[in-house]
Symmetry: C2
Subunit: 503 residues, 2 copies
């Protein structure tokens, strides 16, 4: 099933493996052989599935790539600890080669420096050796995350595994499993053992299931228990809404759309009921100590992100951001890697302030934003509303974008929505990369445009973010090897006329 999932329609494309210089690693890249005899290497998230020789088995899981890189006697440390001690890990070398598409643009030393400073993270849990190392930081390719997960209202385990691999097929750099229904543990285990990308979760969802959905019954002990379980399973990063303090709640309640983060609303209700500060905030050092043991990265959650353009950039949102900056320093004390969550609904004129403040308050820890959605009336098209703001904020320095699907605000996404959402956000991330001067992204655009000008249709499809769709749309209208596209017909093709002038 999964072989077909990844290889249908793909032609002239293979996986190549670049050897490390420092470590015995083999870095996977996608290579496209163009019809003009050139080749181009591209960043690839498909893991072993992208290799036509690989035979997948959901029951066995994928190979434990990183196990062989570390000796059993080695004391375990986080990537940040290694970086701070001047040690280049296999993971650091891997991402340097990966980000460079094998051409040496990024060096292992550069990667080590950015992890050391906290400007970038390599989410790589001790217990998720299946994942290929990847880096999240503004100096590197902008990454995207796809949320999957069943709710009480739908979907089962097999469907969720397939959805996660489907997201990965279309280029998702990480996947967050936000399941809230039954079988949370089994679903997560199955996803982890089969995922070549880092997996994130919001442990609060499972903690709440443990107390039968009664928010008032939540407590630190059972929350901690959940964290330990998920650390043991191999989750690579946790979203923890520890920055939502009791003092921010009144302001948030007076908003047009209140609190729209699930984790945020749960903690707000708990704090008001018990008239206590958040147990996530009060026990934050304990959380860090635990994460350090497994190198689980912290994604400091924005429980107070605005749910409407009217609520953007308010006191509640920026108050929490300031606290997230303080917590970053705490996590770094324990060598725990940190990213900061942001946006939601933010109009274009208020996007820059988010990025500026985040840089100022969060000590250059990477920013990870949902959208932002630049208006409120796009229901049914909110992947677009969010990609518009996402491109803008990524261009300004956000390191990872959380996708939004077509069904945002309306329903749970199906497979098609996941594909549409992921490709849309790949466009946002890529466009930001081009604007930021990323050499690999610019070369990709250029290869595509040269193929377009020379009517090399096969190459155009293969260089597109969604080769299958591009191919299908084109062939629905014209035959193979046309020297014009179907928009203008042969007599009105501007590129054809231009080429005739040059001749």
């Amino acid at each position: 099933m999964f072989k077909k999932l990844f290889h249908d329609y793909v032609s002239n494309t293979s996986k190549i493996y670049v050897d490390g210089n420092i470590h015995p690693i083999k870095v996977a890249l996608k290579q496209i052989r163009l019809t003009n005899k050139n080749t181009i290497n591209l960043y690839d998230t498909s893991g072993p599935y992208g290799d036509p020789n690989y035979v997948a088995s959901t029951a066995n899981g994928i190979p434990k790539l990183r196990t062989q890189w570390h000796s059993e006697n080695e004391e375990f440390h986080t990537q940040m600890w290694y970086a701070r001690n001047g040690i280049i890990t296999p993971e650091m070398e891997y991402v340097a080669i990966r980000e460079s598409n094998g051409d040496g643009t990024f060096t292992p030393q550069m990667v080590m420096e950015s992890v050391k400073a906290g400007r970038a993270i390599i989410p790589s849990s001790k217990n998720h050796p299946e994942a290929e190392p990847m880096i999240i930081g503004a100096e590197y390719k902008v990454k995207i995350n796809a949320n999957i997960g069943n709710s009480a209202l739908g979907s089962d385990i097999d469907e969720e595994i397939e959805k996660s691999l489907w997201a990965v097929k279309w280029g998702s750099d990480t996947v967050m499993d936000l399941s809230t229904g039954k079988n949370i543990n089994q679903t997560r285990e199955a996803i982890l053992r089969n995922s070549p990308v880092p997996i994130g979760t919001v442990p609060m969802y499972q903690a709440l299931e443990k107390v039968d959905g009664v928010i008032e019954d939540l407590n630190w002990e059972s929350f901690r228990e959940t964290l330990v379980e998920q650390c043991e399973q191999g989750v690579d990063y946790f979203t923890i809404h520890a920055g939502l303090l009791k003092e921010y709640v009144p302001c948030a309640l007076n908003r047009v759309t209140g609190i729209v983060s699930r984790g945020g609303s749960i903690m707000a209700k708990w704090m008001l009921h018990h008239d206590k500060e958040s147990f996530l905030y009060d026990n934050f050092e304990e959380i860090c100590k635990l994460c350090a043991q497994y190198d689980v990265a912290l994604s400091l959650g924005d429980g107070l992100r605005p749910g409407s353009t009217a609520d953007a950039n308010d006191e509640a949102q920026f108050g929490e951001l300031k606290t997230l900056g303080e917590l970053t320093k705490v996590a770094w004390k324990y060598d725990v890697q940190v990213i900061i969550e942001g946006p939601g609904h933010v109009p274009m004129d208020k996007i820059a302030e988010n990025m500026t403040l985040q840089k100022e308050l969060c000590h250059e820890a990477p920013f990870y934003t949902l959208g932002p959605l630049v208006c409120d009336i796009g229901a049914g098209y909110d992947h677009i509303t969010a990609a518009i703001g996402g491109t803008m904020i990524a261009f300004l320095g956000t390191a990872m974008l959380c996708y939004v699907t077509t069904k945002e605000h309306l329903a749970l996404p199906d497979k098609n929505d996941v594909r549409e959402g992921v490709v849309t956000f790949k466009i946002a991330a890529h466009a930001a990369d081009v604007a930021k001067g990323n050499k690999q992204a610019i070369a990709h655009d250029r290869a595509m445009s040269e193929a377009r000008y020379e009517f090399r249709w096969q190459d155009q499809f293969n260089l597109s973010l969604d080769a299958e769709r591009a191919r299908k749309m084109h062939y629905a209208m014209v035959g193979e090897n046309a020297d014009h596209c179907a928009m203008c017909g042969p007599n009105f093709c501007a590129m054809r006329i231009t080429r005739s002038i040059k001749k």
Copy 2:
């Protein structure tokens, strides 16, 4: 057929008519009755079709709204002439009320001042009285245009009328008929007589058909003949590529993707073949004299827009822009209204320079851009690539965005692609309006968010840019009047939890 086209699925929505104070006009707005007993007025492009009492007949066309506003003895002048002579026309009052949603934000005097200065245009051909007046200028709501038209490869007249009305249904503010195949004249006539929005064309396409597609045979006389025919029919604005001078061609030929404007490539080929300056440039004053007689506005075409991010902001593109600025002054001498065409493929970091230069070189004439597409590898999703850049440039001051469809670079759009393209660009335009502080747009967002927070689903659908799609997606998953959406299920709905806290 058209009644169904416009009224399927629409509930609690009616057309209201606001009387003018100066002129005997009735300005059509859309009014939504919300389920909380409030009403909200919205800008509406649907013309008579949007009125449930109207019975359409394609053969008879729609009522000639503006005929009754002008007496037969009145000497005809352009809107710019009237504005320069301090006269507020019915068209000016109409757009003031229309832009204000009836609340007086914009006054007829303000409209007159902007038309006088050339900062805005009201495309309103003497011979297209069916069209409802609308204004294009940075001080007003950002507008969008949808291109339709058959190519040699497909579609017939009925299909084109339906496509144009379909674009209007989804909110297109103007429609450009870019037909290049057979029956150009009959198609255009049918579209004009049935269109409540201004219609634009690129007369070069028909001129080329007249010389059997042989570019070398083009000449001023037959081009002029085409202009006269189209002026007589009632086209509201012409795209004329008069700014592409011979001296700019060599630079454009050395680009990665050469010349990608159809009109541009045709003129380049003609100039090189005859070794002469463009006959559009040489006869530009004649063109202006003709347009002044009918108040056909000029959309000064960007024959050298970049077709790849690599070609953005080059000497060819900005050379032409400078010439367009000079031609603007010439047109204004004849009281001809002008907009300036721009972008194409432009990465995010190069968008602002386009807007800045356009303002500097074109004397504040409104900017009308295609996209820009912010990268080259989005084939199959280029409506999104283009909406991202479109939102950015509209926020910076572009007055009208030309939509790009899903099939851009691949094939001719069908009805579904037109809908997807129009709604996507409505999002871009609206998001820019919100960011620019447009009061009406902000109120629309707020009404939507209030409905969302109160789980008023009917209102959310009606306030969405595509009520039909939003409704369908929602109901596919949950029942009517749910107090949660299907994304999170009832126990994890953040807004539901927030509301429970407030209680």
